[in-house]
Structures are given as C-alpha cells and as structure tokens.
C-alpha cells in the first residue's frame, strides 16, 4: 500500500472581485513508505497549498488524497485533525515554535494531541538533535539553527508516517541547511517515516535521490508556462 497517493487534485481560491483562480492541479503523485522526496519550485507557486491539502488543513475542490490508506478529503474535520495528530509531522520555514513554551514543552506539544505525552521520547529526540542541554530554554533563547532542530524534534514526536517540510531551510545559512536536511533524513529513517519536502532552494535537491519539479507536477504551472 502506498504511503501517499494523490489523484486529480484541484484547488482554487476565490477572487476579491468574484470568480475563482485555480492554483493547483496535480494529476498524480505517489510515495511509498519510507520514501524521501523533494519537490522544487518557485515561491508563490502553490507548494504550501499542496502540503496543506495533504495534511487536511485545506479542503480540495476535487480529486483524492490517500494517506496510509485513508482518504483524507472525505474525512470529517475532527478526523483530519486526528490524522494530523497521529500520522503527520509538519515542519515550517519559520519553525512556528510556541514562544511561551520551552524546547521540551514544544516537543511535548507535538505528541499531546495524538498518541499522548511521552516525556522520555521528547527528551531522547532533543538529545538526538543535540539540544539535551537546552531542554528548558525558550525559543527566543536559541539560535535560528537550534530553533529549527526543535521544530524537527517536534515534527517527529508523534511517530508520524509522513513528515511534511515546507521550506525547512528557508531561514538557515547553507551550512545549517545541509545539516538540517541530513538530520531530518536521519530522524525519518530512524522512525521509518516518509519525508516530503517542498523548497525553492536548488541546493536542497542535492540531498535527495528522489526529486520532483513542481513545474512538471502542477498542471496549472505547466499551462501558464506553455
């Protein structure tokens, strides 16, 4: 069974003056369990929307998204919340750590809506990302690279089947970018999680064996280009 299978996925947004603009049309996309795929594309081309549709944060106009055998688009909202809490890890360009929570608490949050709090695992993950001495530090007390490592640990906290990473190196320098991607791949390998990264950074592509061009995947962009 495929980890992720997408068919004829379409999404449009309403325009202020009426009508709608189509931003995304993906005819087919598939990932097997443990796959690590990077989708490279320009900023503002609908990659984040693609990840939000997979995670069930947005509803598609048409098509299907099957994650580990579950049809995401027909699930109720609370079922999609549950799916995110138990099967998906999400990493953002801006890390999106909660500022009022310590490193350890941020990682605990990553598991609190799903499998339940497991402080040992949270501590272990922070040790793996090299932050065992920063457990009680708040995000503002950390460097940008350290904040990103907390975000990686949080994304893996609920033992997800699929990790979605949206421009995970967007705020990092080249050295930290490479280290972050390597760490992310190691963490996913350790848990057997699939990894889907979207990035505009061409250098990120070098770290992945499976590379997809967003311009080729999204029919809307193909149509614009042609």
């Amino acid at each position: 069974m495929a980890l992720l299978e997408i068919k004829n996925l379409q999404k449009s947004y309403p325009l202020p003056g009426g009508g709608r603009v189509k931003v995304l049309e993906v005819q087919g996309f598939r990932m097997e369990p443990g796959d690590k795929v990077v989708i490279q594309g320009e900023s503002g081309s609908g990659k984040t929307t693609f990840l939000h549709l997979i995670a069930g944060i947005l509803r598609a106009d048409a098509g299907s998204v099957s994650l580990a055998g579950k049809e995401v688009l027909i699930l109720s909202e609370s079922a999609r919340d549950r799916l995110r809490a138990t099967s998906i890890g999400y990493i953002f360009q801006t890390f999106n750590l909660l500022q009022g929570f310590t490193c350890l608490e941020n990682v605990l949050l990553g598991m609190s809506f799903g499998p339940g709090i497991d402080e040992c695992r949270a501590r272990q993950l922070l040790k793996v990302v090299g932050l065992e001495n920063r457990l009680n530090h708040y995000p503002r007390q950390l460097s940008v690279g350290q904040q990103q490592r907390v975000a990686l640990a949080r994304a893996l906290a609920n033992r997800p089947k699929l990790v979605l990473a949206d421009e995970p190196t967007g705020n990092l320098d080249p050295a930290n970018s490479r280290a972050a991607i390597e760490l992310l791949q190691e963490l996913c390998d350790a848990d057997g999680a699939g990894l889907l990264v979207v990035s505009h950074d061409i250098k990120v592509m070098d770290s992945f064996s499976e590379k997809v061009s967003w311009a080729r995947l999204n029919r809307v962009i193909r149509e614009i280009k042609s």
Binding site: S45, I57, L83, Y90, G100, H200
Partner: protein
C-alpha cells in the same frame, strides 16, 4: 486532551501574568466587596438584634425609642433624660404589669473615664442575670463585682484592655459622656474586677454601683435618686400589649421601647446604603467580566498564529475552545481565591471598627450562603467572559494564519 488544554491554558496565563493579575484582581475586588457587603449587613443586623443583653425592653424618659435603646443597651448616644429611681418598685406594685416583669435592672449614666462610659447599676446584673441563653457575665481571675456601697468598679474587658486597667488600680472619673480633662471628679474608684469578654456592648463599659453615679461629686442634688433607664426582662411577651400603650400612648413621662423591633427598624433605615454598595459591587463585577473579555479577545488577535500552529499539530477546534474557557475560568478562580483574601481584610477592619465603637463582636467568618453563591457567580462570569474569545478561537482559519503561501 482536556489535560493538554488545561496545561496550555495555564502556561498561557503564566505567560501573560500581568494581564492575568489585573483581571483576577478585578474579580477579587468584585467578589470580596459583594461578600463583605452581604456578610456585614446580615451579621451586623443579626448580631445587633441579638445583642439585647438578655433584656426584652427598656423603660426610660420620654423621648426617642431608638435613642433610649442605643443609650441603654449599646451605650451609644446621650440619655434622653432620667426617670425616678423607684420606677421599678412602682411597676412591680402595678397589678396589671407587676407579674409580667421578670427582672428590672436600673442603670444610670453621665460620667466617663478617658472616653469610656461609666454606667451605674446593681450587682444583680452580673451575679444573677443571663445576658444570653444560659450565659452569665464572669469576672476574670480573683477579681470581684463591686460592692453597692463602695467606690468600686468592674471594668468591661475591652475598656480594661484599652485603658490598661487591672484589679487594684484606682482612677478618678470625668463628668459627662465625653472625655474633657478639666471635668475630672474628685471621687477615687478602685477596680475590683475585670469582666471576661462577652462580645456585647458591656465589654466597653466601666461598671460602678448605681449610687456611685447618683452621688458622684458635683452631680445635682435634686436628681440624685434618679436613674437613666430600667432594663426589663419580661416573663411573658404578651405583657408588651399592656406596657406599650400604658407608657407610650397614655402616659407622658416615660418611653417604653422593645429592643429587637427598634433595632430592626434602625437597620431598615440603612437599606439604601446597602443597595448602593451592592450596586457598586455588581458594577465592579461587570467591569471585571469586561476586563477578562477584552484581555482574552485581544490576546486572540495576537494568538491567531499560535492557534493555527496548534491546529496544524492536530488540536481540534473544541480543544481551542476549551483552552480559552480554561483561561477565563482560571482567571476567575484566581480572582475567587483573592476575593476571600480581600474579604478577610475588609471583614477584619470592619469587625475591629464595629467592636471599637459598639463593643459588639461580629462573627464574620461563620458559614454563610454568600460564600457559595459569590464564587459560583464569579466562575460563571469568567465562563461567560470567555465565550466570545472562545468563538473567535474556534473560527480561526488555520491555513491563512499558519505561513505565508509560497
């Protein structure tokens, strides 16, 4: 999931400690004020109505019933005048009322010692009379009640404490009910005993034999046999039906006042003041609710991104609603705890002032239903204040607030 919501709510309250404290203080002021107003009113009314000193009525000179009761029972205000010293004897000889009167204790006022009243009376008040069901006045230690024919004094506990009087001390009284240094009498009194605290106005009086007041150096010769009032304990309450018209309607020389109804009417006169205080408390409560609502609502604007992040981690809309409601109720709970602190402060100060002025001890910490309904009311207020921000949290659009679309 509820545990997670509670955890996040508490973290958030701690993160915004200043605004949390401001809102909780508003709740505390409202709750504390409401409890203080209610308890002080009901306890003062009940205690004063009960503080009859074990008597049913007072017979005194023609004048105001309230003034007569305040002067004779609470030792406040001036005496409305004097009545003949043989009034008790005349009453007992009256075939209509003689048998209805159980006890009649004469008192005479007119002097003080450093602002504390000297009241002349008879030993019977301390040796035989019960000031409450089964309770007689007690003299502390090896002290004793004064002898009727001696210049001796029995000090109330509060007066003794404030004046530093102890057994064996001597003092010279001052003329009048107000302390004026130049008006000192030549008579020298010796303290023979200190009364155990009774929580009644008796505590703030220095008691001397009635002849002491009557014969005090400098008092007018022609009124020496007079008394200020007669404190009456009735054998049967039905005697009121005879005594009231006899003295208040048919006679012109006396005033007969039933203590409890007079005090009830006295407190009814303060009804408007209680209403004003209650209104103030309700307005503070409303303002507290508004503060909570504003703080949480504004924080919702700041927290849209946090809410979106929590949703991306799998938090349900209901969880977010719970978080906001836990926050508002957390503020209310903190306010409730502080309201008891505030109430305790107000109650202690008020009880001290009342005891200083009247000698009456109020039991402000006995259980009262207001201790239940005020906290419940404050909790509901907190819940209500959190509803609008909770709806806002519920409606927060995740995708739009999560990250800029790339």
């Amino acid at each position: 999931m509820k545990g997670t919501a509670l955890w996040i709510a508490l973290k958030s309250l701690r993160q915004h400690a200043l605004s949390t404290s401001i809102a909780a203080t508003s709740i505390a002021l409202a709750g504390g004020l409401l409890m203080a107003v209610w308890i002080l009113r009901s306890e003062a009314e009940n205690t004063f109505a009960r503080s009859t000193g074990g008597f049913d009525a007072v017979l005194g000179a023609r004048g105001s019933q309230l003034q007569l009761v305040l002067n004779s029972i609470f030792h406040l205000e001036a005496s409305p005048g004097t009545i003949p010293g043989n009034t008790a004897l005349l009453l007992r000889r009256n075939p209509m009322v003689g048998r209805a009167i159980g006890r009649a204790i004469p008192i005479a006022v007119g002097d003080n010692y450093k602002g504390y009243r000297l009241v002349g009376t008879v030993k019977e008040l301390f040796e035989e009379h019960e000031y409450a069901e089964g309770r007689k006045f007690k003299v502390l230690g090896r002290g004793a009640v004064f002898e009727g024919d001696q210049k001796q004094a029995l000090a109330g506990s509060f007066a003794a404490e404030k004046l530093g009087l102890k057994v064996g001390d001597t003092f010279q009284p001052y003329h009048g009910l107000t302390y004026v240094e130049e008006n000192q009498h030549a008579d020298l009194y010796t303290v023979t005993g200190i009364l155990e605290q009774s929580g009644t106005p008796v505590d703030r009086v220095i008691w001397i034999p009635i002849q002491g007041i009557q014969n005090m150096d400098g008092h007018r010769e022609e009124t020496r046999g007079d008394i200020s009032a007669l404190l009456i304990k009735l054998k049967s309450k039905t005697a009121v039906a005879i005594l009231d018209p006899m003295f208040n309607r048919q006679g012109k020389d006396y005033t007969f006042a039933q203590i409890t109804p007079v005090m009830s009417r006295f407190f009814q006169k303060f009804g408007w003041f209680e209403k004003v205080l209650e209104l103030v408390a309700y307005m503070v409560a409303l303002s507290a609710a508004g503060t909570i609502l504003a703080i949480l609502y504004n924080s919702m604007n700041e927290k849209r991104r946090e809410i979106a992040i929590l949703r991306s981690l799998g938090a349900r809309r209901g969880t977010l609603v719970s978080i906001v409601l836990f926050q508002s109720m957390g503020i209310a709970l903190l306010g409730i705890v502080l309201s008891f602190v505030f109430f305790t402060g107000v109650a202690l100060v008020a009880a001290g002032l009342i005891r200083n002025e009247t000698g009456v001890s109020l039991d402000l910490f006995a259980f009262h239903e207001v201790f239940i309904w005020v906290p419940i009311g404050m909790l509901l207020l907190g819940l209500f204040s959190g509803l609008v921000p909770a709806v806002k949290a519920y409606q927060t659009e995740v995708s739009r607030n999560l990250t800029p679309t790339s």
